[in-house]
């Protein structure tokens, strides 16, 4: 039973990773690409690690998998924030669909 749950998590996680990669290819500008890269990427890798933890319930492996998930969820937004600020300040053009830019008014 746990094998099937783990397999579902594994496939779902790798599909989310693929969606993140597709998003980086397809979306129009740097900031929207970053949406796909941070969220779908960390969710996908987190699901893969969760699948590992679900199948091998040994506590040493479980702790390592949980540590990987915590590390991903902690580092992904920090890195995304830094890249977003750097790209905005270096004047990367926003997509033509952008509705409003309140940061520019300052």
């Amino acid at each position: 039973m746990t094998e099937y749950i783990a397999a579902i998590f594994l496939i779902l996680g790798s599909l989310f990773c693929l969606i993140a990669a597709l998003g980086v290819i397809r979306l129009p500008d740097t900031l929207t690409r970053m949406h796909a890269a941070t969220k779908a990427g960390s969710l996908g890798a987190g699901l893969v690690a969760l699948s590992h933890a679900v199948f091998f319930q040994d506590s040493g492996i479980f702790l390592r998998a949980v540590f990987i998930i915590a590390l991903l969820l902690l580092t992904a937004p920090v890195a995304a924030h830094l890249i977003a600020r750097a790209s905005y300040r270096s004047g990367v053009p926003l997509s033509g669909r952008t509705k409003i830019d309140e940061l520019k008014k300052k």
Partner: protein, 117 residues
Amino acid sequence: MIAAQGAFLHGAAQAAITILLAGMVLVLWRMVKGPTAADRVVAMDLLSVLVVAFLVTLSIHTGQATYLDVAIAFACIAFLGTIALARFIERASRPADENSASDNPQGQDRSQGGPYD
């Protein structure tokens, strides 16, 4: 170290490895093509996350728990690399230092981007 595992999960791990490799190829394409340096750093950040997922999948596939340690170490180092590149872009784009906000960061993408340039 790890108990014998079922054939179903083994097959799923193989499928997941294929999917992750396809994702890595797509990300590498964005890294080569990316119009600005920031795009390349985003691609590299995602590539490191994909490598972590790949290592964990490999650990399921082979039954070697050691790959998890490799994944942890890689995640830490990749985070530091991303931070350093982001700070570099931000500093390179300051008006005082006008030459090439987009040329130098490419030189920094050496390990993954190199063979494809």
